[in-house]
């Protein structure tokens, strides 16, 4: 690739493309690429070039103006220059440093936020309303005192019943029953001896009938494959 000389480029543009325009610049780029040394035409108005090493030149003066006012030029675009004019009334740096907005503020405790703490304890108190209400109702609805007082009558009736049963048991004399059972011993033949009664008849034996005739084959043929 030929080395780049911006003076040669501008001289060529002046000599062979008298009308400065973006179209003529593109035509020159196509017809005489050696002068551009690999530069590409950049920017929306297509009037600047950038070399492969990054250097940029503005080649058309007043490219947005009327055709008569345009000129071929070689204005080097310095990337390190400030974009606009320096602020003549710029403030000087103060003693404070700007706050780092990415820093997280605040201290988060182990229990979390206050709302979280209150909510956690409120959840433990759930259902206690019903407990309190039920406890109040029991104290008001208890009528056991009347039931205790009324049970004395049932108790006395049970006592009377018990006394009656005991009296009946007292009056029941099993003496005559004992005397009657004394004579049973002579009636029961309770002496020990050999069993001399005839044996009972045998129970009937199941008779399966005659076996099937033997055909002569093996008793245990092998299983089928």
């Amino acid at each position: 690739m030929t080395p780049f000389d911006v003076d040669a480029l501008v001289a060529m543009l002046l000599a062979f493309y008298p009308v400065p325009s973006a179209a003529n610049l593109a035509t020159a780029r196509r017809e005489r690429p050696e002068y551009f040394a690999g530069a590409v035409i950049i920017s929306t108005s297509q009037d600047k070039i950038r070399l492969p090493d990054g250097r940029m030149w503005d080649l058309i003066f007043d490219s947005s103006g009327p055709v008569a006012g345009r000129r071929w030029q070689a204005l080097f675009i310095d990337p390190t220059a400030p974009a606009g004019e320096a602020d003549p009334f710029a403030l000087e740096d103060g003693p404070l440093d700007p706050v780092d907005e990415d820093m997280a503020l605040g201290i988060v405790g182990a229990g979390g936020s206050f709302e979280d703490l209150v909510t956690a304890h409120l959840s433990e108190l759930q259902g206690t309303d019903a407990v309190l209400q039920r406890a109040g109702e029991d104290a008001a609805a208890f009528d056991g005192a009347a039931r205790v007082e009324g049970s004395a009558a049932a108790f006395e009736a049970a006592v009377a019943n018990h006394v009656g049963i005991v009296a009946a048991l007292e009056g029941d004399d099993p003496g005559d029953l004992v005397q009657a059972s004394d004579g049973h011993l002579a009636l029961i033949a309770h002496r020990e001896g050999d069993y001399d009664e005839p044996p009972p008849p045998d129970a009937p034996v199941f008779d399966p009938g005659d076996p099937p005739p033997d055909k002569g084959g093996a008793d245990n043929p092998p299983p089928a494959a």
Binding site: D7, A8, A11, M12, A15, R32
Partner: protein
């Protein structure tokens, strides 16, 4: 004016390129310096070949090199 920007390091080369319609374009490529400016690369068509075309182009380039701000 010739002494300000003498033609220097001239290299001539004939080359042929195929155009998009399939025709062959033969041209002579001149690579040269004008003084310390350059390199300039000019292509002159070989058919028909005009011997004075190169001189005319060099004069035009010289004229505008002179006009450039120093």
């Amino acid at each position: 004016m010739d002494s300000d920007f003498p033609v220097d390091g001239l290299v001539m080369k004939d080359q042929s390129t195929y155009q998009r319609d399939g025709s062959l374009k033969r041209e002579r490529v001149y690579a040269f310096y004008l003084g310390k400016h350059g390199p300039f690369t000019e292509r002159v068509a070989l058919e028909p070949f005009d011997e004075l075309e190169f001189g005319r182009r060099v004069d035009a380039l010289r004229r505008h090199l002179q006009a450039l701000p120093k």
